[in-house]
């Protein structure tokens, strides 16, 4: 187990390194950091001054290594726009994205696991078809469209829910539904398939033959096994959600990290863009790392193979 963990850890580190190198070069090649930093009223001389002062004239590999070296210590440089350390900004904005992500994934799980289980108990029943319908619709619905429709209905016509900001938990309801719904189909389908497989297995048949009641069979025996792949999928989906929440954050005026990145793109605030991409990637890497470990712990075959 230790060897496996170390191996995975090393791999995760390599992935993080590659991702950071790609983001760094992408943003620096596509625009001139000195001009971006100098701002609207700078003269050519100012820009040249900044270029040498901050070392933007050095080879990109040197700049990258320096940036990466500082990033490891949690120092992502200073935002060109806010003139504040990027880490301060992230510290302020990340919680909102995290709360939204956690709410959304919980919503998705709470909605899709029961539906998936019910669909699996009665394949091809009305319930199964309804669950299928929900998942097919969820996959095809553009999330910004859903968001605008919900705002129109709950925020304006019924005036029931707040639609902007992140002051109270009520502010998170609509964004949670929109973002969570997006992850629902995949989780539901996996639950259904997993349950069907488990329910068809010998030990469940034995349990049934022994006369155990349906709830006991379902929750004590079947769901436990079916849910393992769902956990790792949920971890992966959570990572995707953080990255995909930009549109949602901007519509609902949630000042999270995704929205910060989107605004920073428009302002050519490269240090912030790089930091957010890197942090989102790191979350994903850590989550998959943990779910790999979990799987390996549950299934010894993985560790060895």
């Amino acid at each position: 187990m230790l060897v496996y963990t170390l191996k995975r850890l090393f791999l995760a580190f390599l992935v993080a390194l590659t991702v950071s190198a790609i983001t760094f070069s992408l943003t620096y090649l596509a625009s001139d950091p000195a001009t971006a930093m100098a701002g609207e009223t700078a003269s050519d001389a100012d820009i040249e001054y900044i270029r040498t002062l901050y070392g933007f004239d050095r080879p990109i590999t040197v700049q990258y290594l320096e940036w990466a070296g500082r990033a490891i210590q949690g120092d992502f440089g200073e935002s060109f726009y806010f003139k504040l350390p990027v880490s301060t900004l992230l510290f302020e904005r990340l919680p909102v994205s995290m709360i939204l992500g956690v709410c959304a994934i919980s919503f998705a799980i709470i909605l899709s696991i029961p539906l998936g289980v019910l669909a699996a108990i009665r394949p091809n029943s009305f319930l199964d078809r309804m669950a299928l319908g929900i998942s097919v619709v969820g996959q095809a619905m553009p999330s910004f469209w859903l968001a605008l429709l919900l705002i129109l209905i709950f925020g304006v016509n019924l005036n029931l829910l707040p639609i902007t900001g992140s002051e109270t938990w009520k502010h998170f309801i609509l964004p949670t539904i929109v973002l969570g719904y997006y992850a629902t189909p995949a989780i539901m389908r996996l639950t259904r398939t997993g349950m069907l497989e488990v329910l068809g297995s010998d030990y469940i048949r034995t349990a049934r033959a022994k006369g155990l009641s349906l709830p006991v069979i379902l929750f004590k025996h079947a769901l436990r096994n079916a849910v393992i792949p769902v956990v790792s999928l949920a971890a992966v989906q959570f990572g995707f959600m953080l990255g995909g929440s930009i549109v949602i954050e901007s519509i609902f005026a949630l000042h999270g990290a995704g929205y910060l990145a989107w605004e920073s793109i428009g302002r050519n605030d490269l240090p912030v863009v790089q930091a957010v991409v890197l942090v989102f990637s790191l979350f994903y890497i850590v989550l998959t790392f943990l779910s790999d470990l979990l799987n390996a712990w549950l299934d010894p075959r993985i560790r060895v193979g």
């Binding site: 791999l11 390599l14 992935v15 993080a16 590659t18 991702v19 790609i22 983001t23 992408l26 943003t27 596509a30 625009s31 394949p123 097919v136 619709v137 996959q139 095809a140 619905m141 553009p142 999330s143 910004f144 469209w145 605008l148 129109l152 304006v156 259904r192 398939t193 069907l196 992966v236 990572g239 995707f240 953080l242 990255g243 995909g244 930009i246 549109v247 901007s250 995704g258 990145a261 989107w262 793109i265 428009g266 863009v273 957010v276 991409v277 989102f280 990637s281 994903y284 890497i285 998959t288």
Partner: protein, 302 residues
């Protein structure tokens, strides 16, 4: 199984050996409502896209500033503009038809680029295994760790949006699922006797890949193609919504939703019509994908 007695007296060949694989396939297709429904919608959209220059009632770029935002015919509009006109007075139905071209083009082209990249990587990893597999798996992990929307936005914002840029960016970002699926499919096929046989006969590696491996993974390939088409179309719509997708005056559906969003409280139809079109297209593609998977791999049906 339905038994049709074609010639009274003599049993038909069908009754003895059962339906041929082709017949089975047809039956499965026509018994699969999702596939039928999706296929029909997709077919209509295709026709609409291809025939747009012939059947569209107006010029998609002709603006008439004095006739802006006329409502569709069932609200207060006229038959001249069945679906009304947009914020510059251009015919909505015409733009919807030409928009089908753009959305389908983006879906196809992005899926093609990512398909070529992903399949090449996936097949190589699955077939050769070992170090090749390690490298490809690493690349896939790297790609999966990058937040797609954010990276696409950053790239498009920095180098400027155009149809080519959007297609290339999406194509270069969406190959991961191809690689994953093709890799495991190839791994399974590699174990098959006929591959070993081909090797034993002395077939060259490219030949084995082309004649033995590819034909056998093409089903899963098609399924992934549909998924990624739908994915690309939705992503383009999201990019356009944020103002970073295809550029006007090109009539993409994502752009039409984005242009209509300004009017959501007052002229909700302007966002609803392209929204529904987008929804139906993605739905149809997904249904066709699911259908193909069910029909070609009946043993995996539940």
């Amino acid at each position: 199984m339905t038994t049709t007695i074609a010639n009274r007296g003599l049993p038909a060949a069908e009754d003895i050996v059962g339906p041929t694989p082709g017949q089975q396939m047809r039956r499965r297709i026509f018994g699969h409502y999702g596939l039928l429904f999706g296929g029909t919608i997709l077919g209509i959209m295709f026709l609409m896209a291809i025939l747009a220059p012939l059947i569209a009632p107006h010029d998609p770029y002709l603006q008439e500033l004095l006739g802006r935002m006329q409502q569709p015919v069932w609200m207060s509009g006229s038959w001249d503009h069945i679906l009304g006109t947009d914020h510059l007075g251009r015919d909505f139905l015409t733009r919807l038809m030409y928009g089908a071209q753009i959305s389908l083009l983006i879906g196809f082209a992005a899926a093609l680029i990512s398909g070529v990249i992903g399949t090449a990587l996936g097949v190589a990893a699955g077939y050769f295994g070992g170090r090749v597999d390690m490298v490809v798996t690493f690349l896939i992990t790297v790609r999966l760790s990058m937040p797609v929307v954010l990276v696409a936005l950053a790239v498009v914002a920095l180098i400027g949006g155009s149809l080519t840029v959007v297609i290339s960016v999406l194509g270069l970002l969406l190959w991961d699922r191809f690689a994953v699926v093709m890799r495991s499919a190839t791994m399974q096929i590699r174990q098959m006797d006929y591959v070993a046989a081909a090797k034993a006969v002395g077939c060259s590696t490219p030949r084995i890949l082309l004649t033995e491996i590819l034909p056998n993974i093409v089903n899963s390939l098609i399924v992934v193609v549909t998924l990624e088409m739908a994915h690309a179309i939705l992503l383009e719509a999201a990019l356009s919504f944020l103002g970073m997708g295809v550029q006007p005056p090109m009539p993409s559906w994502g752009l039409m939703v984005s242009e209509g969003k300004e009017q959501i409280y007052f002229e909700a139809w302007m966002i609803t019509i392209p929204g529904i079109a987008l929804f139906l297209l993605v739905l149809a593609i997904n249904l066709v994908g699911d259908g193909i998977r069910d029909v070609t791999a009946p043993e995996h049906r539940n």
